[in-house]
């Protein structure tokens, strides 16, 4: 007995070390694969650019006061020039500065919606997939129900009752976004829980929480990262859409959708006012989509097609 406990200690340590090394190698391989794909690197570059803009926007923006809703009628609706690369808006504010500072809002909104949806969806998916039976049937029935109503329509209905605003937009979008996570995690959990190592852990008497946190959750990590990256883009797009139709952020806020909503009234003469905020939405969403697409090819090759 003592022998079997003493000797394998070294072996176990070696095995753990080996496992860590394996993971490290796997990670390096993933990074290498990712770096070989042009579109993934383009996506990563765009995402990195927007993250930098979000973090240091108020230092980078040439006229940071433009985002605060100042009024500067003398410079109203100036076309793009050296002083104002993206021109100025109806209040005489620099559009470039507002777009840069708006990055922070859009990225934050996307992140909160994605995290909120994952926070609701992942536990439901794991519980349903692991426990099975009527619990799973109930969870999946509700999930299917939510999936069958277009999410944008449901979100608008929720915003209608809660009242327009950026916070309510985030609540509404997170409240309709979670079913995708349930589907994803449920199917992944169903597959993993039959794996020999999970069966073994259960046979050795591991508790349910231990199985969930030690084995099931890590097993779901890759598809979760891929989906979250794709969803960041989709959430930014949806929030901007709600801002555009006047249900999200409101005018003085430099949120891209809200800017576009005001700028729409100044088309066609003052096109730059609408063009650049829209371009920012498009590029940021494109960045997250390209990155997500690339990550899927690397992390989750079976589902890519």
């Amino acid at each position: 007995m003592t022998q079997t406990t003493v000797v394998p200690m070294a072996e176990a340590a070696a095995a753990v070390h080996e496992e860590k090394l394996d993971r490290y190698r796997e990670l390096r391989r993933a990074v290498w694969l990712l770096s070989r794909s042009f579109s993934s690197m383009l996506g990563l570059g765009i995402v990195a650019l927007f993250i930098i803009l979000a973090l240091f926007g108020s230092w980078i923006a040439p006229y940071p006061e433009a985002a605060l809703g100042s009024v500067n009628m003398a410079d109203m609706l100036q076309p793009p020039s050296w002083e104002h690369w993206f021109g100025t808006d109806d209040m005489g504010n620099d559009v470039l500065s507002r777009v840069i500072i708006g990055t922070q809002i859009s990225l934050q909104v996307g992140l909160i919606i994605t995290l909120g949806a994952a926070f609701i969806g992942v536990p439901l998916g794991i519980l349903g997939g692991y426990l099975g039976g009527w619990i799973r049937s109930t969870i999946m029935a509700v999930t299917d129900l939510f999936l069958s109503v277009p999410s944008l329509v449901l979100a608008i209905a929720i915003v209608a009752v809660l009242g327009p605003g950026i916070v309510n937009t985030m609540i509404a979008l997170a409240a309709v976004w979670w079913p995708g996570y349930v589907r994803l995690i449920d199917s992944k959990t169903l597959a993993i829980k039959e794996e020999p190592y999970v069966e073994a852990a259960r046979a050795l008497g591991a508790s349910t929480p231990r199985i969930i946190f030690r084995y099931l959750l890590p097993g779901c990590a890759s598809p979760l990262i891929v989906k979250a990256s794709m969803d960041m883009g989709a959430a930014i797009l949806a929030a901007a859409g709600l801002g555009f139709i006047g249900l999200g952020a409101k005018a003085p806020s430099p949120e891209w959708g809200a800017m576009l909503s005001v700028a729409r009234g100044y088309l066609p003469e003052w096109w730059w006012f609408a063009f650049f905020p829209g371009m920012a939405i498009y590029l940021s969403v494109l960045g997250f989509n390209l990155l997500g697409d690339g990550l899927r090819d690397v992390l989750d090759p079976r589902t890519s097609r």
């Binding site: 277009p150 449901l154 929720i158 915003v159 139709i245 006047g246 576009l260 609408a274 939405i281 989509n289």
Partner: protein
């Protein structure tokens, strides 16, 4: 097949009940006082109370729910606060406009998506193929409302080829309704001018609505084409001496169509959701615009009615797609 049909019908009915629960929950249980919302921001306390009694909002929730469900099945969605007309009338006007828009958008998505997919598959790994891939990813990322504004700017304002927005000119004579689809009715009544004008009005909104879908159709069509072109029976056809072109069109394309149609079926609900944005940009008098305008006026009965109608529509479409699948593929009837 009968058993399968009954089972699917039961699922459909359950989903419908669930949908009613969701809309009821949003209206009554979610934070915010529905009576105060319905009364509008300038209402006095007594007005709010009057509305509470009128709408039966002072009764217990279960009673309200039963009331709500019976009303909906009787086609009674209440009255719009802003126009005081029954919500059902608004829906009846808006639904055909939205359906027409979606039908044309789906047509665009299928025709252009398949054409692009085939081109990319035939000229695989060439410049055309790479351009297509960029196009497919960017199609999903493109904000529809912004894209719509750009199209308006270019095709309507700069070139003057197409009208900026709306469904038909103000002075254009409208056909007597038969199907309530404007262009179809114009054709049936022989009003060619109106039909042509309707087509000019619908082109841009339908194109914008189809765009994200078009990109994924192109992607699927390309993959399917490449797969079938590599299959044995295509090799057989080649051995028989058929020309490459005829193989591509007659065999590969036909096989690629089924997944494309399935994809379109899946995207139907998504398109219905997209109408909220596209119809706002193009002032298209459909369900999406009705919903958005009602929200902006805090007129929440039409909002819930549109949610219900769109949800029902999608569920019905899913149900029909399932049935069609079962008809074509007997294996699925077991599941």
């Amino acid at each position: 097949m009968t058993l399968y049909l009954i089972r699917r019908l039961l699922v459909f009915a359950t989903m419908l009940f669930g949908l009613l629960c969701i809309t009821f929950f949003i209206a009554n249980v979610a934070p915010g006082d529905p009576a105060a919302l319905a009364a509008g921001p300038n209402a006095t306390k007594s007005m709010v109370e009057a509305i509470r009694v009128e709408y039966g909002l002072d009764k217990p929730l279960t009673e309200q729910f039963v009331h709500y469900v019976t009303d909906v099945f009787a086609g009674d969605f209440g009255r719009s606060i802003s126009t005081t007309r029954p919500v059902l009338d608004h829906i009846a006007e808006a639904l055909p406009a939205t359906m027409e828009l979606i039908i044309v958008a789906m047509g665009f998505a299928i025709i252009m998506g398949v054409a692009l997919g085939v081109l990319a598959a035939v000229w695989r790994d060439t410049v055309i193929d790479h351009t297509m891939r960029v196009f497919a990813v960017s199609g999903i990322a493109l904000p529809m409302f912004w894209f719509g504004l750009l199209l308006q700017l270019f095709f309507a304002v700069k070139l003057g080829w197409l009208p900026v927005s709306g469904q038909l000119g103000l002075i254009t004579e409208r056909p007597e309704p038969i199907t309530h689809l404007l262009i179809v009715d114009s054709l049936l009544r022989g009003m060619w001018g109106t039909a042509l004008e309707g087509l000019r009005y619908i082109t841009m909104p339908a194109l914008v609505l189809s765009f994200p879908c078009l990109a994924s159709v192109a992607r699927v069509a390309r993959a399917e084409m490449i797969e079938t072109m590599a299959s044995d029976y295509v090799l057989g056809a080649r051995a028989q001496g058929l020309s490459t072109f005829s193989i591509q069109i007659r065999h590969a394309l036909r096989n690629a169509m089924l997944p494309v149609l399935a994809l379109i079926g899946l995207r139907y609900g998504w398109m219905l959701g997209g109408t909220a944005l596209v119809e706002t940009v193009f002032d298209w008098p459909g369900l999406g615009l009705l919903m958005v305008n009602s929200v902006l006026l805090s007129d929440f009965k039409p909002v819930l009615a549109v949610t219900l109608i769109i949800g029902f529509n999608v569920m019905l479409a899913n149900f029909l797609v399932d049935l069609a699948y079962a008809l074509f593929d007997p294996r699925l009837r077991q599941g």
